[in-house]
Amino acid sequence: MMRRAYAMNIVGAALLALLFGCASVSQTPSVPPKHPEDLPQGRVDCLECHQDVSTGALKPYSMARHSRVFIDSHGTYARQGQNLCASCHAPAFCQTCHARKEEMKPDTKMGDRPDRRAPHRGDYLVTHRIDGRLDPGSCFRCHGNKMDTRCKQCHQ
């Protein structure tokens, strides 16, 4: 058990060193705090201007493509700096899902946007029994740990 903990510490330290190393040579391009051109209402096609090459001040589309991988890790990008998000989204946009008190499930609230990856679709009260049993860490990410009041509402 001690040897395993020691190995985990070594791996953790190596990963941290790698993280700091990558951060120090980050090639993240500078992003203006606001989009320089007015954007039309509704969904916009970024590819109208942003191709997958950097030309002058234009950033490549791949930088902000909202792919599955990007969405799953968008919190990491948001914490790195607000400029990239603020280019297209005002802070109120985050509250669509990240309001502290949800009056309804995001997938219900955004039922007209099935393309968005709102979690817990369907009757998730049933499926959470399995997902919570198998991978409780995935719940804690948003709902706090098992001592959190959110779980205690039902799980005394």
Binding site: S67, R68, H89, A92, D112, I130, L134
Partner: protein
């Protein structure tokens, strides 16, 4: 949940825009428990999306599979959705089913759940949209459930758009 259990998970996701407008997504997760209950599990999922109508609309299909040491933790999930936005009208359809290997709620024999969400919306003004959801659910919790939602969206110009 067991406070003394040790859980390790490894997961990965890959998405690939293999043709303009088409995206393939593949994901996997390996879950390992120290305790035999709940035991180990693996989850795999694959999906494809297609953006059309000047990328205003998206259709997609996905399938996910959970295989586990214990049958009570195994299930499959299938989902399909599509939207259609002619002019100021917006229509969407979203269907989901989860097929559990064993009845997930003790005492309730039902092993599957189905949900269909249909929505319709109309852009009344540039900043005002009226829309509604109609949801049908059949699950171990619900023999047959219908739910409706009427939504009025007014955009105070604080949600999107750089200089707005």
């Amino acid at each position: 949940m067991d406070n003394n259990d040790d859980v390790q998970t490894i997961f990965g996701i890959v998405d690939w825009a293999f043709v303009p407008g088409w995206t393939l997504e593949v994901g996997g997760k390996i879950i390992r428990h120290e305790k035999s209950d709940p035991g180990d599990a693996n989850r795999g999922e694959v999906g494809v999306r297609y953006a059309y109508n000047d990328k205003k609309d998206v259709a997609g299909f996905s399938a996910a599979f959970v295989s586990a040491d214990q049958a009570k933790n195994e299930y499959q999930e299938y989902r399909g959705f599509a939207s259609y936005s002619p002019s100021k009208l917006r229509l969407t359809l979203d269907a989901l089913t989860q097929q559990y290997k064993e009845a997930p709620i003790p005492g309730v024999g039902k092993k599957n759940q189905y949900q269909v969400v249909a929505t319709a919306g109309y852009q009344l003004l540039a900043s005002l949209q009226l829309s509604g959801n109609l949801t049908y659910t059949q699950s171990p919790n619900f023999q047959e459930d219908w739910a409706g939602l009427v939504r009025v969206n007014y955009d105070f110009a604080t949600s999107t758009g750089g200089k707005k």
